[in-house]
């Protein structure tokens, strides 16, 4: 099986600060790949390069190749790339001016969906996929303001799933959540990998060990170690990986 996403010698920078220094790795389809590493090592920048979100920051740029199903994403239209590679952010950034329904339907509407019937069935399907349908039943047309942060994050996941991407990028999706809400998201990730390829950035070692199949360890913009999660966690090859995982130093 060749990788869903293949990254080849990827460099990224903000103005004159280099954040990624030549990263190459292969992300397998229908697997969860965790990106771990100390703060500021470029984890978020790395996944933002995969759907071309890095370049929206003024002064940011990239070099190198990222292939999605064998095609270079930097040669494709960024809008198409982002529709195929969905992203979940650290903060559950729902749209406060929209209802719960509209929040899920907005991505579909952007893709030209207009028929109310289809919108409704898709919104309900994705809400039930994230286990939110029963919790918000009867208040789909109300604003999302009354939901807990865990529910909001699941709403954001539903919103992203609704447009049926192929890859899900998650940038510390649980860092703002309590343990129970985090646990529900983790369960969801396990279910979702049947259909999607998932790349998750996390600060939580246990979480990475629990949910991922592969783990990449980044430090100071370089890929230190990449392999199957049990291998990286139980038998790290690099001394820096070992000391980071065991919490001795960054």
């Amino acid at each position: 099986m060749t990788g869903k996403i293949v990254v080849d010698e990827l460099f990224a920078w903000y103005d004159d600060r280099e954040v990624l220094k030549g990263i190459s790795l292969e992300i397998k389809a229908n697997r969860v790949t965790a990106i771990i590493g100390p703060s500021g090592c470029g984890k978020s920048t790395f996944i933002r390069c995969l759907n071309r979100m890095h370049e929206i920051v003024p002064g940011a740029g990239t070099a190198g190749k990222v292939y999605l199903d064998g095609r270079d994403v930097y040669a494709l239209n960024p809008i198409e790339v982002r529709r195929r590679v969905g992203m979940i952010f650290q903060t559950p950034n729902v749209f406060p001016a929209m209802s719960i329904f509209q929040n899920v339907a907005v991505g579909l509407a952007l893709n030209g969906w207009r028929r109310r019937q289809e919108l409704h069935s898709t919104v309900e399907k994705t809400l039930s996929q994230v286990g939110l349908l029963e919790e918000v039943a009867g208040r789909l047309d109300q604003p999302a303001t009354g939901l807990s942060s865990g529910q909001l994050q699941r709403l954001c996941i539903a919103r992203t799933l609704a447009v049926e991407p192929e890859v899900l990028l998650m940038d510390e999706p649980c860092s703002a959540l309590d343990p129970i809400a985090s646990f529900r998201i983790e369960e969801l990730i396990r279910e979702l990998k049947q259909k999607y390829t998932i790349v998750i950035v996390t600060h939580n070692m246990q979480q990475a060990a629990r949910i991922s199949d592969y783990t990449a360890f980044l430090a100071q913009g370089e890929l230190i170690e990449y392999g199957s999660t049990p291998a990286v966690f139980i038998n790290p090859k690099d001394r820096r990986t070992e000391s980071y995982i065991t919490g001795r130093s960054a």
Binding site: M53, P78, I79, R83, F89, G107
Partner: protein
């Protein structure tokens, strides 16, 4: 900025500032206590100033208030010789020219603010923002001069005949083109409102969290879709607030309006016809008002204007404040 807005701003700021000074109880040195009391006094002085102003207006307007009462607001006759006073033509002129200004300045300010906040390259942004602020600093009288020597002839010779020809079926664009009149006043006011409305709208758009934009961009939304679906709805209250601030400024503007509105107390549907405004009648007749009742009637108009601007500015501030609260509430979720 007109005095009412200044006073209100100072009052709110003073109240908050004073509140902080009262609640902090760490100072035990006599010097600190003295300084604290002194600043409270200053803060209260601003508050008192507004109250005293309102009270003075109310007291000086008493003869007119007692004689005409509420019918003063909808009375159409203004005849100092026979001591008949009704403010409707002035209220009408002020409201129509202000609304016209808002209708013209609103889209332009919103568009300029969206460009400055969302699309402008970093360097151009600073230059343009500076120019916008520069416009706000030009005195009203200069706008008035430009209005009567450049704008009014242009309206009389070009724009108004053209509008009359093609849109003359609307009552708004009927009648002879005078140049000077409601349309000229509306345009001048619009130009004067644009800087403050653009500046505040831009600030409001810039407090919209980056996550809102990124969430939509990550869906493959185009920049225009991001503005329409994420930025504008999020900032809605703030934008309305910015427009109300512009409205407050337009209501109180005196000199520029007086120079181009025509100063004829008439109520006409046509935007071409000369009219009058609440501010211009005060500035025109104040010096000649020899009768006590005439003076009281002018102050009565001033009192009405004071009330309207105060209300408009309070609404504006509340809307902008509510946006700020919304942003901080959503920040807490993050």
């Amino acid at each position: 900025m007109d005095p009412c807005a200044c006073c209100l701003r100072a009052f709110i700021f003073g109240g908050v500032f004073g509140g902080i000074l009262i609640t902090t109880n760490r100072a035990t040195y006599p010097g600190d206590t003295f300084f604290r009391r002194l600043t409270i006094l200053f803060a209260l002085a601003l508050f008192l100033l507004v109250l005293v102003m309102a009270f003075q207006l109310y007291r000086e307007a008493q003869p007119s208030l007692q004689r005409f009462g509420w019918p003063f607001v909808w009375g159409r006759e203004w005849d100092p010789v026979h001591e008949k006073f009704g403010a409707l033509p002035y209220i009408y002129g002020t409201l129509v020219s202000t609304l016209l200004a808002l209708a013209l300045a609103g889209p332009i300010s919103l568009g300029a603010a969206v460009y400055l906040a969302e699309f402008a390259p970093r360097r151009l942004k600073a230059t343009l923002a500076f120019l916008v602020d520069l416009l706000a600093g030009i005195p009203g009288i200069v706008y008035g001069l430009w209005g009567s020597f450049v704008l009014a002839p242009f309206l009389r010779n070009c724009l108004e005949p053209w509008l009359g020809k093609y849109l003359g079926f609307l009552p708004l664009f009927q009648g002879p083109p005078f140049g000077i009149g409601l349309l000229a006043a509306g345009i001048i006011l619009a130009i004067m409102c644009i800087p403050v409305m653009t500046a505040v709208t831009r600030e409001v758009l810039e407090v919209v969290p980056a996550g809102q934009r990124e969430a939509l961009l990550a869906f493959g939304a185009t920049p225009w879709e991001v503005v329409r679906l994420a930025v504008l709805p999020y900032a809605r209250e703030g934008i309305i607030g910015a427009f109300f601030l512009g409205l407050g400024k337009a209501l109180g503007e005196t000199l520029a309006v007086t120079m181009v509105i025509g100063n004829r107390p008439e109520i006409s549907l046509s935007l071409f016809s000369p009219a009058h405004s609440m501010t211009s009648v005060i500035v025109n007749e104040f010096a000649q008002a020899v009768k006590a009742i005439h003076l009281a009637a002018l102050i009565h108009i001033g009192l009405l204007l004071f009330g309207i601007t105060l209300l408009v500015n309070i609404i504006a501030r509340l809307l902008i404040y509510r946006l700020g609260r919304k942003v901080s509430r959503w920040k807490q979720v993050e």
